[in-house]
Structure formats: structure tokens, C-alpha cells
């Protein structure tokens, strides 16, 4: 971003040239299916508007930033569909709060990116419009659910992008595509205008090649929003400020390095990375976290319950798909939903309905909320004794498209990332490791609530 801004000021090229460059990159590799739609004309229009502001010296702090947004973020007068048939053709009548804030600082939104349907998935194979390919190896998945946003940045189709992270949906694709991916503290960024999946965990966050750019985007998006009662009043820091070099107290979980699903090469590389950090003067401590294998089950019960409630609004009446095969009102609901939703969304709604239904509520839903408290307290406790918890972001590098068929095995892909969502703490994945075949894997840094500034400064210090 910094280089682009300087080049634009020097007039090495214009913002229009830049947008055209990205558009041609998108067209060249359209078979990756990273984008659901490119806003070809209006991104060029905005480019010339922002260009004149740059000339006049009145441009906002994101002038020069060409951004893609996940297909679950509302951009007024543009289609948004969560990669679902049930919303095909839906045009948002309003802006998400973060879109408003980003546009006010002169961002250019180049298009909307594919994702798993309603952000439910870890491979981007659940899009109603087909899988997204990993630009680094097209036989592999880009990760999910924000796979299109990750693929777009990794393929050089935009400078940065936005995703949403409910159980790892930003950090896991960042790990698989070699990018920085940030999930902020719950409540740090307004969710107004984000199509809801699991409201107690959803957070919008950026993908970028550099932590500095991710930090800059967070700086603009963060802060209280009267339209989202869960958004926080906590002070917004200058996240993009480069910190002074310092040493930290770091921790990692024994249960993660001993996890049988962890790639042995990755385990060795992670432990070697800890040694490097020790040699640089950081304190590194091993901790025990007894709930590792309970994280995904807890997440599943709660996120599916919230999804079954949130997705009840898609009924074929006020907007979205309405089945032609229905006679009366009741079959209109049932047919529209059954024809409009894909199989993974239906599975989650059914499990969510089950755990919320009378007779099972206490045994499953309420139980999971209690376990969530134990997990949250243990996480906050660990973070009060150290600065950051480190782990590999994912147990391995990107897998082949079609390789994981069993839903439960797919859910377990999130094993290292869901903790931050259940506890509501910030977490970032930065590219650090490589598989034997050269595919990237991320290092995940998790911090205490609202410690994004410190976390991003540490992330920046680890960048090559």
C-alpha cells in the first residue's frame, strides 16, 4: 500500500491504470472462480474520482487501496448473495457500516468474492457456484469459508480483501494461500451489513500480503457503531503504527504440538520457530489446554444453533428465491428453503434446530454454552500470563479439491482456529511455514481482547 501510494503521488501510473491492471489479472485467471462479480465500470469510475482527490491533496487514508469484499458484505446497489442460490439476484439497499467507513477513506471496491455458502465451510467447495481453486496450486482448495477473498489477493487480483471469520474462515484460507489474515476481537468491528451466520462469533476482517495493510484496514473499520449493539466502545488504536523492537512472553499448547493430526514436518518447523524466537530474547513457555478436543464440538452446537435461527429469515417472501412448485404459504416456505439452500447449510440448520428443540435444549445447547464459558475463561487466563499464544494456524497445508467428503472431518479442519472465536479474542495468521511440496502454512498469533495493536506489531516484526 505504501509503495502504491508513493507511486500514485509521483504519477508513475494512475489509479485507473492500477484498477485496469487488477481487472486484467482477474480476467486472465477467471477459471479460479475467486470472484462472484467484478464491479468493472463503477470501480473505474471511482478510480477517476479518487485520482482527482489525490491530485487535489484531499484524498483519504485508503486512496490507492483496491479491495475485494466477500459475498456476504452489503454494498449498496450491488448484488450480495453469500454464494447461495436462495439470494440470487438480491441487491443490497444499504451499506454495511464498514463499507461506509472504507468508502469514506477512498477505498475502491473492485468486486465481490466467492465463499462457502453462508460462510459455512473450510474449503470453499460449498459455494452454490462451484469451488474456488487455490492460485498457488490449482488442484488444491484455497481454504474457506473466505476462499475467494484469499485467492483474489494471492493471485494479485487486488491489493487486499475482506472476509468474515466465525470459526477460522479468514485465518485458515490465509494459511493455505500464504497471506496475512486477521480476525479482530469480538465487537471490535461492526457486523451491521454482514449476512449473519453465528452472531456471537462472526467478525469481519482483512486479508493482505503485509500486516501493515491489514492493520490499516482494521484502523478504518474498527469502532463503535450504533447499528450493532455488540460493537465495542473500546478505544481504536493506531494499529498500523510500527512498534519499537521488543521482547514478549509467548506461550504454546502442549496438546497442539502433540496432536496426532498435526503434520510431523510442520510440528518440527513450529518447534524450530519457537527456538528462533527464544534466541531473539522472547520468553517461550509451554502451557496445557485441556479442552482442545472439545473446541470443535462446542463450536458446532453453538454456531449451528445460531445459524438455524439466523437463516429462518430466508423464507421466499420478502426477498430471495421463491419456489414455483408451491401451492400455499406453508409449502412456499418449505419448497423455497429446500430448493434454495445447499446440503451443508441444511445439515447445519437441522443440527441447530435439534439442539434448540424442547427436550434437547439443556443437554446440548445450554451444555455447550457452559463449556464455552470454561473455554473462554481458560483462554483469557492463559493470555493474562503471557502476551501471545502461538500455534500453527492449520494442522497441514491446503488439501486437494474433493479429498474431504466426511462433514465431521471437514469440521475438524478448524481445530486450531475456533478457540479465538469461542473466546472472542483477536487472532492473526501470518505466512511462516512451507509444506514438503512448497505450499504455505500460517503461524497463528492470538492475543488478549482488544490487543490488536500489540499483536499486529509483533506479526510485523516476524515478516521476512
Amino acid at each position: 500500500m505504501r509503495e502504491i501510494r508513493e507511486a500514485l503521488l509521483r504519477e508513475d501510473y494512475s489509479l485507473t491504470d492500477l484498477v485496469k491492471h487488477y481487472q486484467s489479472k482477474i480476467a486472465e485467471r477467471s477459471h479460479l472462480a475467486a470472484f462472484r462479480e467484478v464491479f468493472t465500470d463503477d470501480s473505474l469510475e471511482r478510480a477517476s474520482e479518487v485520482q482527482s482527490k489525490i491530485k487535489a491533496g484531499t484524498a483519504g487514508k485508503l486512496a490507492g487501496m483496491v479491495l475485494a469484499i466477500k459475498d456476504n458484505i452489503c454494498y449498496r446497489d450491488h448484488e450480495v448473495g453469500a454464494a447461495s442460490k436462495i439470494l440470487e439476484g438480491f441487491i443490497s439497499p444499504y451499506h454495511a457500516t464498514i463499507v461506509e467507513r472504507l468508502l469514506a477513506e477512498d477505498v475502491i471496491i473492485i468486486g465481490r468474492t466467492s465463499c462457502d455458502e453462508f460462510a459455512m465451510g473450510s474449503s470453499n467447495e460449498n459455494s452454490a457456484y462451484g469451488p474456488v481453486l487455490n492460485p498457488l496450486d490449482e488442484a488444491l482448495v484455497p481454504g474457506g469459508s473466505s476462499g475467494g477473498s484469499a485467492a483474489a489477493v494471492a493471485a494479485g487480483m487486488c491489493l487486499a480483501s475482506l472476509g468474515s471469520d466465525t470459526g477460522g474462515s479468514i485465518r485458515q484460507p490465509a494459511s493455505f494461500c500464504g497471506l496475512v489474515g486477521l480476525k479482530p476481537t469480538y465487537g471490535r468491528v461492526s457486523r451491521y451489513g454482514l449476512l449473519a451466520y453465528a452472531s456471537s462469533m462472526d467478525q469481519i476482517g482483512p486479508f493482505a500480503s503485509k500486516s501493515e495493510d491489514a492493520a490499516l484496514l482494521l484502523e478504518v473499520m474498527a469502532g463503535k457503531d450504533s447499528k450493532d449493539n455488540t460493537s465495542s466502545n473500546h478505544r481504536v488504536d493506531e494499529y498500523s503504527e510500527e512498534g519499537k523492537a521488543r521482547t514478549y512472553e509467548l506461550a504454546y499448547y502442549k496438546e497442539i504440538v502433540e496432536h496426532p493430526g498435526l503434520d510431523p514436518q510442520l510440528k518440527a518447523d513450529f518447534l524450530a520457530q519457537l527456538e528462533i524466537l527464544r534466541s531473539q530474547g522472547h520468553k517461550v513457555e509451554e502451557l496445557s489446554f485441556p479442552y482442545l478436543n472439545d473446541l470443535v464440538p462446542t463450536y458446532n452446537v453453538l454456531s449451528n444453533a445460531e445459524a438455524s435461527s439466523n437463516l429462518s429469515r430466508y423464507d421466499g417472501i420478502r426477498y430471495g428465491y421463491r419456489s414455483e412448485n408451491a401451492g400455499d404459504i406453508d409449502t412456499t416456505y418449505t419448497k423455497s428453503r429446500s430448493e434454495g439452500f445447499g446440503p451443508e447449510v441444511k445439515r447445519r440448520i437441522m443440527l441447530g434446530t435439534f439442539v434448540l428443540s424442547s427436550g434437547y435444549y439443556d443437554a446440548y445447547y445450554s451444555k455447550a454454552q457452559k463449556v464455552r464459558r470454561l473455554i473462554r475463561d481458560a483462554t483469557i487466563n492463559a493470555l493474562s500470563d503471557c502476551d501471545f499464544i502461538l500455534s500453527p494456524t492449520t494442522p497441514h497445508s491446503a488439501f486437494k479439491i474433493g479429498d474431504i467428503q466426511d462433514p465431521v472431518q471437514m469440521y475438524l479442519e478448524d481445530i486450531f482456529t475456533v478457540q479465538a472465536n469461542l473466546a472472542g479474542v483477536p487472532s492473526v495468521s501470518i505466512p511462516k511455514f512451507k509444506s514438503a511440496s512448497g505450499m504455505p502454512i500460517g503461524l497463528q498469533i492470538t492475543a488478549g481482547p482488544f490487543e490488536e495493536k500489540k499483536m499486529l506489531q509483533f506479526a510485523r516484526s516476524l515478516e521476512d
Partner: protein, 98 residues
Amino acid sequence: MKIDDALIDKLSELAKLEFVGEERERIKSDLSRMLQFVEKLKEIDTEGVNPLIHLTEEYGSLREDRAENTLSKGDALKNAPSANSDYFKVPKVLKKGE
């Protein structure tokens, strides 16, 4: 926990979803697999633990109760699958004789 047809029927009705033929067998086996997976939470001792419902401590911040027109009628009807100039149109709710 056994997932039988009666349970699928009940959940389908609550969720307004239908599963027929092969899809029905598939959801039965998927749900039973998913439930088996979350079943292990029962082993965790949560005696005396309160459910975690709100993630932040900041609740209770009230705002003035002021009516605001955030969406015009025209904009609200624009995405409807079926509407006239004032209302969403839906299939018949009451049948003759009801």
C-alpha cells in the same frame, strides 16, 4: 441418540425443510454422525458453571428511542419475488371454507 424418521419429520417441520428419497437417508446418517461428534461434551463437568451468553461486558448501553426511516417502501419491495406497489404478495393463506 438414534435419528429415526419421526425425529427427521419433527425437525423438518420446525426448520421448514424437506428431505425426500436419497436426501432423506443422507441427512439421517449425517445428523447421527454430527450428533455422535458433539456427544462428547456430556463428559465435561460443568457443575455450577453458568452458560456464557454475552461475549462483552458492555451491554446495556441504551440509545434514544427515536423512529427513523432507514428503508423506503420502494427499496423494501424492490427485492421481493412478488409484490405490488404497496405490499409483498404471498400465496393464499386461507383456503375456501376454512
